[in-house]
């Protein structure tokens, strides 16, 4: 440099000792930490509450027997089975349809205004209140198709309810598949369909599964869509076909707390149901997380 003296870089000690940024950083961390604690606290209390009150009534009889004595004794086996059937039915309908939709929207349509519009409407559909789907299911499946109040109507209604979230979750994970994978596959002489089947879907699968997990939780726990379409307050019968009406855990909880005359005897059973519902959802999640983890660690 011509003529200008270089300024020596200040050595250790040349800086002021106290940094305001350290303080602000600590305050920042403290608030972040606080948010986590508050969240964990509420979740913890909820869990402890449900588990503590639910576990008292859960025993072998509770899990395997139908209700007795106007729902004040006996078990909730038909409700467990009903929820299982409804959830299974809904996922079996919604998963293939939703994934297929997502694949078509992501892979086969040019990125255009119309596709964006469709995407946006699907995302918005995910926010429609579930009772609206319930009314729709009543009008279409129960009345118009004359399926009656049945597992079929309930499953289809639940399927339509979760379809948007399955589609958007699948879309997100398909879009997250690097374009370079598609290019690599196509450049080797793979067809578009081979590329989707052998590269894109396997790569997107963990993300799709996550979407499905969340959906299963939602389907199992929803009350409003099945009130009019599938659920019955009380039956000693196990469902015999897809046209049977069923008991279901979430609706059973609702019924126990709002109807009947022995509130003191019914409330504990409701907590038992809540506990089982929680366990079911956690189990399903655990399975899906396990699958996802295995997939990840294989090619991580």
């Amino acid at each position: 440099m011509n003529g200008t003296k270089t300024v020596p870089f200040p050595r250790a000690g040349g800086f002021p000792k106290f940094h305001l940024r350290n303080l602000t950083q600590r305050i920042g961390f403290f608030f972040l930490f606080l948010s986590v604690m508050v969240t964990v606290l509420f979740l913890g209390v909820l869990l402890v509450f449900i588990v503590a009150r639910g576990i008292q009534v859960v025993n072998w009889e509770f899990l395997t027997q139908p209700p007795r004595e106007a729902m004040t004794a006996g078990g909730v086996a038909p409700a467990i089975l009903g929820t299982f059937y409804l959830t299974l039915g809904a996922i079996l309908c919604a998963l293939p349809l939703g994934v297929a939709c997502a694949i078509y929207l992501v892979e086969y349509t040019p990125k255009s205004y119309v596709v964006n519009l469709i995407r946006m409407s699907i995302n918005n559909l995910a926010g429609v209140p579930s009772v609206v789907f319930g009314l729709f299911g009543l009008a279409i499946f129960v009345k118009f198709f004359n399926f009656g109040v049945s597992i079929l109507s309930g499953s289809l209604t639940l399927a339509i309810m979760v379809l948007p979230s399955i589609i958007s979750a699948s879309q997100e994970s398909l879009l997250a598949v690097p374009q370079s994978y598609r290019e690599a596959s196509l450049a080797l002489g793979a067809s578009h369909w081979q590329t989707i089947r052998k590269v894109v879907i396997p790569t997107a699968l963990p993300g799709i599964l996550t979407g499905v997990i969340l959906s299963i939780g939602r389907v199992a726990g929803e009350t409003a869509p099945i009130i009019f379409t599938a659920a019955t307050f009380y039956t000693r019968m196990y469902p015999s076909s897809v046209f049977s009406e069923v008991m279901a855990l979430p609706y059973h909880i609702y019924a126990l707390m709002t109807e009947g005359v022995h509130a003191d005897k019914q409330a504990p059973i409701a907590f038992g149901c809540a506990f089982i519902l929680l366990c079911l959802v956690l189990c399903v999640s655990a399975i899906a997380i396990y699958i996802r983890q295995k997939q990840r660690s294989k090619y991580g």
């Binding site: 040019p110 990125k111 690097p178 374009q179 370079s180 994978y181 598609r182 290019e183 690599a184 596959s185 196509l186 450049a187 080797l188 002489g189 793979a190 067809s191 081979q194 052998k198 590269v199 396997p202 790569t203 294989k298 090619y299 991580g300």
Partner: protein
């Protein structure tokens, strides 16, 4: 880019003036009788409204190595991605002009894109192995092209890995994830994957960008070996490499083909002043 970058016709008169370097393919004595693998005539290529390639005419000769050189962003990748129709995947792009592979227009409506892509292999600028095992990566191309026989598949995989100078390093962990390989190893895996499907033309987009000198030399030797049976196009920023491995060199600048000719001549007596400046590092 060009101000008038939205022409209504593909072919318009070449603008006059000192900036008209696009030359017709040079027919030197040596090239007159040689088989043309890829023929490029009068192409313009657009990303949306911006023109990335302008009025390019060029021939790529069979069993020769053709190098593409030019500053970053001049359109080398764009250009070679036209040969296997990779740019089809990018929305809002447009090509005017003619590109022939073995005298067949690859952009005609009847062209079989899948077959073209099998015949014209590509090694991309960034290594892009699948999130699968090393073996599955190389076997993938065989499977999608209908090779089911396990023995044959394994033999081809090992053979390709050997050719790509990767086999010795990874032969004990061939069933591990390809994503755990180093960048340079991933690139050689991509080369192996490309060789496995036995293409006729191979497009290399800076294959040695993330390789050490030893692997680079191995790849260069491989290129010279492959030349016997394949037609090779290589994009490189390394002038020595272009001089070492290529028979023909094309110099691109701002989407235009400034000069194309035998490597020997282009490097020693460049006809265009810009080429000379670029080669000697006095550019810009």
């Amino acid at each position: 880019m060009d101000k008038q970058a939205f022409p209504h016709t593909a072919r318009r008169p070449q603008s006059a003036g000192r900036q008209s370097p696009a030359q017709s393919p040079q027919k030197t004595d040596d090239t007159r009788d040689m088989a043309v693998r890829i023929r490029v005539r009068n192409i313009d290529f657009y990303y949306g409204n911006s023109r990335a390639l302008e009025k390019i005419d060029m021939d790529i000769y069979k069993n020769r190595v053709t190098a593409m050189i030019g500053p970053s962003g001049c359109g080398k990748s764009t250009f070679i991605r036209l040969f296997n129709r990779m740019n089809d995947l990018i929305p809002h792009t447009r090509l005017d002009g003619l590109i022939e592979l073995d005298n067949r227009d690859i952009y005609s409506s009847g062209a079989d894109v899948v077959d073209i892509r099998r015949r014209v292999g590509m090694v991309f600028q960034k290594p892009n192995p699948f999130p699968k095992s090393i073996f599955e990566n190389v076997a993938y191309g065989l499977e999608v092209n209908g090779i089911r026989n396990k023995k044959l598949k394994e033999a081809r995989v090992v053979d390709s890995l050997k050719k790509a100078a990767l086999w010795e390093e990874i032969k004990d962990r061939i069933h591990e994830s390809a994503l755990r390989l180093s960048g340079g190893q991933q690139q050689r895996l991509c080369i192996a994957r490309c060789l496995a499907v036995d293409p006729e033309v191979i497009l290399f987009d800076e294959p040695c960008a993330s390789l050490d000198p030893i692997s680079t030399r191995k790849i260069e030797e491989l290129l010279l070996e492959l030349k016997e049976s394949y037609t090779i196009v290589i994009v490189t920023h390394n002038m020595q490499q272009a001089a070492r491995v290529s028979d023909y060199t094309a110099f691109l600048y701002m989407g235009k083909l400034i000069e194309f000719g035998e490597t020997q001549k282009l490097f020693t007596v460049p006809r265009n002043k810009m080429t000379e400046e670029y080669l000697t590092g006095k550019f810009g």
